[in-house]
């Protein structure tokens, strides 16, 4: 065990898999000598050499196309998109090419590519650096999408993503990079790619969230506990596929559900969760399912970020509304 920040856990996962599998390759813009603009790949080029860890020309479509090509040659590429807002540049290579390769080849060709990328708001970045675009990739057939909310999951999920033979989009929360520390096991371990995690047990209300909003939700659960309300918090971890078993089980236990996402209301992860529960467990519910999300604008100008991002206060208000419904 070692205490690691969220980003150190990511670096450690990369180091572990570079060591354990010589077919893994880490590349992207500034990931080599510079060790990434956030230092997620710090020291990896020095340790594993320029053959395994390298800088590419500045082109996201190129980076993903290169990954598919390398996978066809038996490699296990781990490309980085420097900020997830730049993923639009690569959407054909991701959604039009990479995600379709196995299907297109009658299930004969796997392309085990793990796309790492930071996303999420709250750090006052310029335009296109903080957008929550996970629903866009989560609605592409053939792609897995996972996002950890803590250092332990960060390392374990990334290792699982790299070892998995499907293409995986691995989303790292920018705000959590350095704001969170926890004990993380040394060496290789896995966190299953398609399992939600009940991070806090409760009986009166289920809050389902992912990434940084899990921590906001936990704050609310702790606060409400002091008033005798027992809140269960479920961390989705995987956005595609959604682990409907875990969320339905929790909904059937607490009979009240709130779904939280940082993304805009129109972006579909929370909607997908709500529809799964509606279809599978609506008769067990005592109140309408609630949603907390950002408003339907484009990501806000930096100075107004805090007024826009859903926070613990918004979650608490909605949680009370659902708890009080009868």
């Amino acid at each position: 065990m070692a205490t690691m920040s969220y980003i150190q856990a990511i670096t450690d996962a990369l180091r572990t898999q570079l060591k354990n599998d010589d077919k893994t390759l880490v590349f992207g813009e500034d990931v080599g000598k510079n060790g990434g603009v956030f230092r997620a790949t710090d020291g990896l080029q020095a340790e594993f050499g320029e053959d395994r860890v390298f800088d590419t020309p500045l082109a996201e479509s190129g980076i993903i196309g290169l990954s598919t090509g390398l996978a066809l040659q038996g490699f296990r590429p781990i490309p980085e998109i420097q900020f997830f807002g730049f993923v639009f540049e690569a959407m054909d290579q991701i959604a039009g090419q990479l995600s379709r390769t196995r299907y297109r080849t009658n299930g004969t060709v796997n392309v085990p590519v793990t796309i790492r990328s930071p996303f999420g708001g709250g750090t006052h970045t310029p335009e296109m650096h903080a957008d929550s675009l996970e629903a866009m990739v989560a609605s592409v057939p053939g792609l897995r999408v996972v996002t950890p909310s803590n250092p332990y999951d960060a390392k374990g999920l990334l290792i699982s993503a790299i070892k998995n033979n499907d293409p995986v989009v691995f989303l790292e929360n920018l705000k959590l990079y350095r704001s969170m520390k926890a004990d993380v096991p040394e060496g290789e371990y896995e966190v299953p790619l398609d399992k939600a995690n009940v991070v806090r047990e409760g009986t009166d209300l289920t809050i389902i969230a992912y990434s940084a909003e899990v921590n906001e939700s936990l704050k609310v659960a702790e606060k409400l506990e002091k008033e005798g309300k027992s809140v269960e918090v479920v961390d989705l971890r995987s956005l595609a596929p959604i682990d409907f078993e875990t969320i339905v089980k929790s909904a059937e236990k607490t009979h009240r559900v709130l779904v939280v996402q940082e993304a805009q209301r129109l972006a579909g992860v929370a909607s997908k969760v709500v529809s799964e529960i509606s279809e599978r467990a609506i008769l067990s519910l005592d109140a309408p399912i609630g949603r907390v999300s950002a408003p339907d604008t484009i990501y806000p100008f930096g100075l107004a970020e805090d007024d826009w991002l859903p926070n613990a206060e918004d979650i608490e208000a909605k949680a009370r509304e659902i708890l009080e419904f009868n």
Binding site: K33, N34, V37, D55, P57, M128, R265
Partner: protein
């Protein structure tokens, strides 16, 4: 059988070495290397050019300090690129349409954007992108590397279809930007439609930490114009007169209906990529940096103008004080900008709010009234 080669790719690869030398008027020592071009300019012109570079250097120094004090937000340092930026922008008219990237704020200000609005853009305030009062002919600074290049082809095609006289579109990207698909699409579309556009590549040696050589095997970035069928040239980007003279010729050529031009300026970013934690020591050596610092465009012209009796430390200091005052006023004005409201952002999403958005506007207005 003798070794007859129908095609010799080894020889062809060697042929790729572009022999072109960057255009120059005044060299790194402040010596005139092209007297004919130099003589086109009066003493007043030279002082004006010098002042533009000092203006940009001062804006940089103040912006740097303001970012550190938390009074500005996002800032991409421009120190070292004064000749490349001021020399190019000066060739254009306010009616020309500019498509800048994040490091082109000084040109955008010279093109008509008030400094206080540039500061609001940096802080993350929507008013920084509202160009209506000043009628600035520009798109707000591009964050997505390369996107502005293809949009420039579109603006220029619009200018052509509208038959707008004596007007061009011009844009900037960096060395890294030339690797994006949008870069190639932009110059290719511009060539295919023969539009009035001038494309600048400010090759400052690095894309964040990635050196120019990692971007491409091409010997120059300018030569990428060849495949698009458009004229291209590489210029000493530390030489104001060389950049200005080239940009003027390009504008004239494009405005006359001859089609687009691609210009690469060779320059250097003296400081970090942005003020958000980049440390050049991680990827550049002092040995590599020093010759570029010595090649400072201000040193070159300061020497030349001082020798001619046109410039002195006193003149420079007095002018710097003037610019600092201008910047101080801009900060004050930026501070007075109203607090942004989410309800107003919601109103800006569509021309007529959809029912869902109308509902959200109502909710946020209630929140904001508290």
């Amino acid at each position: 059988m003798s070794e007859v080669k129908f095609v010799d790719f080894v020889a062809k690869k060697n042929d790729l070495q572009d022999q072109a030398k960057p255009l120059q008027v005044v060299n790194g020592k402040g010596e005139i290397v092209n007297q004919e071009v130099f003589d086109k300019y009066s003493d007043e012109d030279l002082v004006k050019f010098m002042k533009l570079m000092v203006w940009e250097r001062t804006l940089h120094q103040r912006s740097n300090a303001l970012t550190r004090q938390g009074r500005l937000g996002f800032y991409a340092p421009t120190e070292g690129q004064e000749a490349s930026e001021m020399g190019s922008q000066l060739a254009f008219k306010p009616s020309d349409f500019m498509l800048p990237a994040y490091r082109d704020i000084p040109q955008l200000i010279q093109h008509g954007l008030p400094i206080w609005k540039a500061f609001l853009w940096s802080r993350g305030h929507v008013l920084g992108n509202d160009y209506t009062d000043e009628n600035v002919q520009a798109l707000s600074p591009q964050i997505i590397i390369g996107a502005q290049y293809i949009e420039t082809a579109g603006v220029a095609l619009g200018i052509k279809k509208n038959k707008t006289e004596d007007t061009v579109a011009f844009t900037y990207t960096g060395d890294g930007g030339t690797s994006q698909g949008d870069f190639y699409e932009g110059i290719n579309f511009a060539g295919a439609f023969q539009v009035p556009a001038v494309f600048f590549i400010q090759n400052n040696g690095y894309a964040i930490s990635v050196p120019r050589r990692v971007q491409t095997a091409a010997v120059t970035l300018a030569q990428k114009g060849m495949a698009a069928g458009i004229p291209y040239v590489q210029v000493d980007g530390m030489d104001f007169l060389a950049v200005y003279e080239t940009a003027k010729a390009a504008r004239e050529y494009a405005a006359a209906g001859n089609g687009p031009v691609l210009i690469e300026t060779l320059t250097f970013r003296f400081g970090p990529h942005t003020n958000a934690g980049d440390d050049p020591k991680r990827y550049r050596t002092p040995e590599e940096e020093q010759p570029w610092f010595d090649n400072d465009p201000l040193i070159r012209y300061r020497k030349l103008l001082t020798d001619k009796g046109l410039w002195s430390e006193d003149i420079e200091n007095a002018y710097v004080d003037e610019v600092k005052e201008e910047i101080k006023d801009a900060v004050k004005k930026a501070d007075e900008a109203p607090k942004q409201k989410i309800s107003e952002f919601l109103e800006n999403v569509f021309e007529v709010p959809t029912p869902e958005i109308a509902e959200q506007i109502k909710a946020f207005k209630a929140k904001e009234a508290k």
